[in-house]
């Protein structure tokens, strides 16, 4: 029997609930009562969902979540490729913030994405990077005085 990804997800939730329950062991009853009261039904519900997901019809038929649905008009292989690509950009942006700090990472990321992924023309790219930099610098740095520490790379160089 092939385990579906949605079954794995419910199994992971069950594992998290079990771990949460185990972690309450050294706590006093006052501290542990709430997490235990929630973790037990969470574990039971997650295992029930796991069993159902193995045996029942796919979730698409069995559940109509009150939420938006991911677009279905794109070829699954292309969709997977694009999903992985955007995840890489998202985590890349985070890595840039950690290494370079917000003030450098914001214009660098906007430029890289517009040229690399969106294939925007040069003039538009430069204009939009200037807008991003102006919003960041004018609003968040000068007006709101938010603290933006330099990135790890810059600190190492200093």
């Amino acid at each position: 029997m092939r385990v579906k990804p949605e079954s794995l997800f419910s199994l992971m939730v069950a594992a998290a609930a079990a771990a949460a329950l185990v972690l309450t062991a050294p706590w006093s009853i006052k501290t542990a009562l709430y997490p235990r009261t929630i973790a037990v039904p969470l574990l039971v519900l997650a295992l029930t969902e796991f069993v159902f997901s193995l045996r029942a019809r796919p979730a698409a038929d069995a559940v109509h979540a009150m939420d938006f649905k991911l677009s279905e008009g794109v070829d699954p292989k292309v969709a997977l490729q694009r999903t992985l690509s955007i995840f890489a950009w998202i985590f890349g942006f985070f890595a840039a913030i950690v290494l370079l700090g917000f003030p450098i990472a914001v214009p660098v990321f906007v430029f890289a994405y517009l040229r690399g992924a969106a294939r925007a023309p040069w003039v538009l790219t430069v204009g939009l990077v200037a807008v991003a930099w102006a919003v960041f610098n004018g609003l968040f740095v000068r007006l709101l005085h938010l603290p933006f520490p330099p990135g790890l790379l810059l600190r190492a160089l200093q």
């Binding site: 706590w27 501290t31 559940v63 109509h64 991911l70 950009w89 938010l146």
Partner: protein, 504 residues
């Protein structure tokens, strides 16, 4: 009293107070649009400017600013699927779905008009509550507040969607939210739970980075996969769409009014806040659907899912002010900051605000109304331009959406930990959407978790088990049971209908 009411209005309309209110509205307008940066934070930042102001000027400035953040916060939620405020996340479910169908104008029109109606209802409640506020608020102790939170959790049944396993997944997501709420210090003894030695988690999880990641990241991923504009190939409606949204508010006027009252009531109760009000109003809008087919429209772009949270978000402002003014008991963190403004301008909240300074109290009522009228009118001027943003190629918007997402979450603690939380919940949100787990119950569980635990312990410590017999507790408990039974009955009817259809 009527005289004080008029005095309050004339005081707000005097040029100096009115000018300060306009400045406040301008600040609040943009703060609301920016994800993450909340009305509470901005109130704290602006507090230092009110030292030399007269009380009416100070409250015109601060309340003018604060009361419009929820109104404009809905604009970001609807257009981009990123919560402009922590209190406007519920508008995403149907508002952004409408934007994706090319109905951004209609969604914005409905949101703004319902916000205005909500603000007026909240302000009216504040004005009417002045003579009766004391018995009204004192009826509710910690046992009743605990039971209101239980009523909120019961609403999960309505937010789960339809289908055989929907209720199971709804409660599973709700429990997951309640579990996540346990991160941080135990409210009884202060023992740290699930912090894994991370200083960042010592205060528990901040709502803003969680909500921003949970809702924005899946939308951004979907936009990148589609490679189209937010509105896809649908043409973005012009002014007619906006007017249609305005009309929708009046077509569903009773729903707007009921959700406004839900918001006001939640605002009055200390410690529940706007994040709870929006979801309970959304759940109420869903419960109001008469048939399973009607209910199934929610989440796919039903205007009632925009109207309900929009009205509740703004009406809670007036409700929030009631205990703050009458007792000096702030109903939320924003009101706690506003309480500081009372002392800065030489006022003491309490009976004096209902007698000696009644005109100041009524000036607050008028500030909420006038500020919202001005904001909604100003928003309508730009609405078509704003709606057109949904027809821009998605790839050009993505770097800006990610920039706003990250910086919005960073403003919570000014820590990189905020962004990590956003990424973790963004991933969780994406997986939940992909495998059709409803996200709303998780948020409701997260918002209500701490409230449930805190009030349960206070009730038990103060009253033992006798609190279970209090009349208001029993009434609210029965309401919670009714909500659950009604949702289960609807599910059952839907299953029978499907069975009959298959048999036919």
């Amino acid at each position: 009293m009527l005289e004080a009411l008029l005095q309050g209005l004339t005081a707000v309309l005097q040029w100096n107070a009115f000018s300060f209110m306009l400045i406040g509205i301008g600040v609040g307008f943009f703060v609301g649009l920016l994800p993450g940066l909340g009305g509470g934070t901005t109130l704290a930042l602006m507090l230092s400017f009110v030292f030399k102001m007269e009380p009416i000027q100070a409250f015109a400035f601060l309340l003018g600013m604060h009361s419009v953040t929820a109104t404009t916060g809905d604009i970001t939620s609807i257009l981009f699927g990123i919560p402009g405020e922590g209190t406007t996340a519920a508008s995403i479910l149907d508002g952004h779905a409408m934007a994706k169908k090319g109905e951004a104008g209609r969604a914005l029109g409905a949101s703004l008009m319902s916000s205005l109606v909500g603000a007026v209802v909240g302000a009216a409640a504040l004005a009417l509550a002045v003579p009766v506020v004391r018995p009204l608020v004192l009826t509710f102790g910690s046992p009743e507040l605990f039971m209101v939170a239980v009523l909120g959790i019961a609403s999960i049944a309505s937010l789960s969607g339809g289908g055989e396993r929907a209720m199971l997944r709804g409660f599973l997501a709700g429990c997951l939210g309640l579990m996540v709420a346990a991160v941080g210090p135990d409210p009884q003894s202060g023992v740290l739970r699930y912090t894994f030695g991370q200083l960042y988690l010592w205060d528990g999880l901040e709502l803003v980075p969680v909500l921003v990641g949970f809702f924005a990241i899946p939308e951004i991923i979907d936009l990148a996969v589609r490679k189209t504009a937010i509105a896809g190939t649908a043409s973005v409606g012009r002014l007619s769409g906006v007017l249609e949204g305005v009309k929708d508010t009046f077509r569903h006027f009773w729903l707007t009014l009921r959700c406004s009252l839900v918001g006001t009531w939640i605002g009055v109760l200390p410690g529940l806040g706007g994040a709870v009000a929006q979801w309970m109003a959304y759940a109420h809008a869903v419960q109001s659907a008469k048939t399973p087919e009607d209910r199934a429209r929610f989440g796919t772009g039903d205007v009632r899912g925009v109207i309900g949270p929009g009205a509740a978000n703004n009406s809670k402002e007036g409700g929030d002010l009631i205990p703050t003014i009458a007792f000096g008991v702030p109903g939320s963190s924003s009101m706690a900051i506003l309480l500081g403004a009372f002392f800065l301008v030489g006022l003491v909240p309490g009976p004096d605000m209902l007698t000696k300074h009644l005109a100041v109290t009524f000036s607050m009522v008028w500030t909420i109304v006038v500020a919202n009228v001005i904001t909604v009118a100003a928003s309508f001027v730009f609405l078509n331009q704003l709606a057109r943003l949904t027809s821009i190629r998605g790839e050009l918007l993505i770097p800006f959406l990610l920039f706003l997402t990250f910086i919005g979450s960073y403003t919570a603690h000014n820590s990189l930990g905020d962004i990590v939380v956003t990424l973790v919940f963004g991933l969780l949100g994406y997986v939940m959407v992909r495998y059709r787990w409803p996200r709303a119950p998780l948020v409701l569980g997260l918002v209500l978790g701490n409230i449930v635990e805190r009030y349960l312990w206070i009730s038990t410590a103060r009253y033992g088990l006798t609190w279970l017999g209090r009349p208001a507790v029993i009434i609210i408990f029965l309401a919670a049971v009714a909500v659950m039974v009604s949702a289960l009955a609807q599910q059952r009817r839907a299953r029978h209908a499907r069975g009959a259809a298959h048999a036919g």
